[in-house]
Symmetry: C2
């Protein structure tokens, strides 16, 4: 070993010890006859001191060091004159007797500090330098720890981690696949899995009983801040279970993670139906760190001659506690916010509850104080509160607009603290949602999801009303996991495919291997998958999943450090019998 | 839950309990007014009994069951009349009161038994049924356990598991890459990683200090029994270490695995230089479960007029203890064995040591008894032993032939017990090997491997003689892991690339991102990678890695269950701007 101790472990008790450390030069301070160097490794920072009087040779050498040089030093642990209470090693320093430069460094393109001067692009190009920053490294340490604790918990619960293949077949439902041309089977392609969904169901058919896998999944989608072409799932499946068993098992897993990682005792998770989540929060992933639930106001505000409301299909309000002090300018900004194309509302109506209890609204000319008092009542608003109202022709869209406004108000009022966690299950999702694009019902979760037994009769009469045994775990408005009880009956599966518009031949061609497997004794089963990247981001309080991925890709799907993707040799294309079409 | 107990846990102490079990019908036996069903799940088998007298309705239902039906049963645990000592649950059975068929099964295409009647092809097509067989499932349970214990050990040693990307850039050295066309960057391709070699080195540059990952790797090679297009590595890297540190760390990991999984206390691993391994075993992965080391016989057997030996560049023998009793026919078979094209020897010379100590050889007409006694002496052969000799023009080839013969003799003499483990390190590999095909020196390990410091001067004068700081862990003749100390000096790396025949421009183009990273303070580092599939196979005593992979591919790289690879839609090709070339 190049060291006897790390840069993070020396304390006042070690004073007098001879030690050897190795690490990177974080900072150099020259003070007359003394030079101080902060030496950094993964474990911490230790101050080195070089004294011109006692060791001029080593002192001279130290004065030639630069930032990020790699050093090995031998010396004695001594107590510091001026201690640094912010540093675990801040009581001591190393009186260096021997200095060995293991490697030099040219000047880094940005500072290796918590607050770096490097922009996103340059930090990604030199990601190996960005990863030297403690704040970035800590995210990956957290990721390691979370993955390890997931494995520990599931292992203890009798789950087996089974690796499923990465080179699989292209699946027709869902997102776009990445494909891999096969050299040995020319003209044919593998696909990279969007998830091991069908494979884990086959493992249940195989009697594996409890399966999990922390596994890379792939989707060739246009990218957003919280999407990556490759991402990691905690993928789980259980046999002989009902929805209740799965919710309990994975509530337990989340409780374990919160306890061992964050030191938080998670209360029993509340459950909210999808219908309630949409009604009260306008979202299937409500941020329940704060209330501000929707109140429907059709009965209260219709019929007074305000045509916007009179013609609306939906009128809903939220009550922002204590926000009556909002200025006209602030309210104008909120109006602009909801009118942005990303939100898409036509406008915003507000009503202030004054100190004396009277209500003053932006639509006073249509409503008497009496009606406004009914509004106040309905909203359970009090003196000092601000009521914000959105209406629209389309209930779903209006709710989504109100949801955006609610989240914005939560942010403005400081109600979305990253260190506070609010977790819940959203249950009873609909089986289907209508696709305007495809002009057909689409599976909301995926086509293997089981309907609720009591809703099965509706499959024939009103499929859009059928609820699924499907559930999501939501934390702070983020869907961290979701799953369902699966169909294990081949006939029911056939019927679901029919409703999704597959002919029996298409269903056979696309999912034949799974439907065939179900003929040989499929057990009742179900499961779920967590997005590990999102889960870690939440625990780390990050805005983007990128910051908890060692080597993420940018919005063009590029790894700018590796230069991937790139051009390949013609010989590689020839072996694959592929040709790149010329642009026309 | 569909059950209160599993099929593996009930014992005599549970007699009298009301239980609910769920599982698959393994076997049905009808005996007059009684029907017995073996119910199977992942945890074991429990006998169910159905009694016509006490419950005719359920009895009738039971008689309509078929193999692999999925059942839920409720009943009472009772003591068996005739106990089955081979079954952990063999003392009890369930008196079934309620029978619920959860799913039916058509007749499986092969029997779900230890000794199945299904051939390889049909078992792969119905892998989900093959996985129901206990012997297959046990391999995957072992795999889970080994992976978990690897993680536990490395976590305790301060290693961080970091996920590296699967969509990377094509690497020019090594095997053939699988490539993935990029839709967002048309005409460009990602490659799937053959290993995370460069990425883990970048993590060392990033100061991660101790990294590991259990990770899928990909090689588009023509396949053999122990090769798969996708395989799993335990990939590790450490900073500020010398070879000795790495050997100790991973010897510790192997010791941990042998102890917790197999209950074996591994002795301190012997170390053998690559030169000795080649000299005494003709292989860089010697099977050291048995001795039978090579003895070079040039001095003993040259110059007596036997032209085959007189003209040979190499003559080597092995002594098969107690095999003097081999018949002429057996020796002819050995001769045929070494003459097979896969081995390629010209012939085989043998010498028997008779009971009286005299030696009788197949080349008696050239050698006096005196010389044959010298041979006996050199081979340390005793009465009853059989000496087998191979010679050739090419030392390396002759040794490889003798190696094959040695292994065959080891097998024939029962010296290769799968339950006995012999582990060692092979060290001091050469840096380079000559490629006849490429007509240049190739990196034996990979181009980032560090030469031994004392051999660096030879880089200029005799590069083929330079030894590397590279090492393999070998168990029972299988290379389970290997690695090296890496070069961390950009100038030395440049020189190595030159010797490998890269111009500075080529080196920059192919490895520029790594060489660039090394300019910013790369620490001394090294590591290794284990083949998890092989490691598990060894622990399970399997002949092929396929048996410890849930969904393996066949020799054509096909997953016959999924039907992958397959044809993709024209629209997918169009989006990727790709065309499949027509066969000419």
């Amino acid at each position: 070993m190049f060291r006897t101790k790390t840069c993070g472990e020396l304390r006042i008790e070690n004073v007098g010890e001879q030690v050897t450390l190795a690490g990177w030069v974080q900072r150099i301070r020259k003070m007359g006859g003394m030079t101080f160097v902060d030496l950094r490794d993964r474990y911490g920072i230790t101050q080195l001191s070089f004294n011109q009087e006692t060791n001029a040779l080593v002192f001279d050498k130290a004065n030639k060091l630069g930032r990020e040089f790699v050093l090995q030093v031998r010396g004695t642990v001594v107590e510091r004159y001026s201690k640094n209470a912010n540093l675990p090693t801040g009581d001591i320093e190393i009186n260096v007797e021997e200095l060995n430069v293991l490697n030099e460094s040219i000047t880094p393109p940005f500072t290796i500090e918590e607050d770096t001067d490097g922009g996103d692009d340059i930090r990604m190009k030199y990601r190996y330098l960005d990863l030297r920053r403690e704040c970035v490294r800590r995210n990956l340490e957290l990721r390691h720890k979370m993955a390890f604790e997931v494995r520990r918990y599931l292992d203890e619960q009798g789950f087996l981690e089974v690796e499923t293949p990465v080179l699989v077949n292209s699946t027709p439902e869902g997102a776009r696949d990445f494909v891999v041309p096969s050299r040995m089977n020319q003209g044919q392609f593998y696909a990279l899995p969007q998830s091991p969904q069908t494979l884990k169901q086959l493992l249940m058919v195989a009697g594996f009983d409890r399966y999990f896998q922390i596994v890379k999944c792939f989707r060739d989608e246009d990218l957003r801040a919280d999407r990556q072409p490759e991402f990691t799932q905690i993928d789980c499946e259980m046999s002989f279970v009902e929805q209740e068993d799965i919710l309990n098992m994975f509530e337990g897993m989340s409780r374990h993670l919160f306890k061992v990682i964050k030191g938080i005792d998670l209360p029993k998770l509340p459950r909210m139906t999808w219908a309630d989540a949409m009604k009260y929060y306008g979202s299937d992933k409500p941020d329940t760190r704060f209330e501000m639930c929707f109140v429907e106001l059709m009965d209260v505000l219709k019929g007074y001659g305000f045509s916007v409301f009179d013609n609306a299909q939906y009128i809903g309000g939220i009550c922002a506690k204590g926000a009556a002090s909002y200025t006209r300018k602030q309210i104008d900004q909120l109006t602009d916010f909801v009118k942005r194309p990303q939100v898409g509302a036509k406008g915003l109506v507000y009503a202030r509850v004054e100190a004396d209890g009277t209500v003053k609204s932006s639509v006073d000319k249509f409503y008497t104080q009496e009606v406004l008092q009914q509004l106040k009542e309905a909203m359970q608003a009090q003196a000092g509160d601000l009521i914000l109202i959105i209406s629209g022709d389309d209930t779903l869209k209006a709710r989504k607009q109100l949801c955006e406004l609610r989240l914005e108000m939560g942010t403005q009022l400081g109600l979305r603290d990253k260190n506070k966690y609010s977790c819940l299950w959203v249950i009873d999702f609909p089986m289907y949602e209508w696709s305007d694009e495809e002009q057909r019902l689409m599976a909301m979760h995926h086509p293997f999801t089981s309907p609720k037994p009591e809703d099965i009769p509706l499959l024939d009469t009103d499929p859009a009303a059928v609820r699924a045994n499907a559930y999501d775990m939501v934390i702070n408005g983020v869907e961290v996991g979701g799953g369902s009880i699966r169909i294990h009956d081949a006939k029911l599966q056939q019927k679901i495919f029919e409703i999704l518009g597959f002919t029996p031949e298409q269903a056979q061609q696309k999912f034949g291997f799974l439907m065939n497997a179900f003929k040989y004794g499929a057990p009742p089963h179900g499961g779920l998958a967590y997005g590990l990247d999102r889960f870690v981001s939440l625990f780390a309080g990050l805005d983007s999943i990128r910051d908890c991925i060692a080597f993420p890709k940018n919005n063009q799907g590029r790894d700018v450090m590796l230069g991937a993707p790139g051009i390949i040799d013609q010989s590689q294309l020839d072996e694959l019998q592929l040709e790149i079409k010329k642009e026309k």
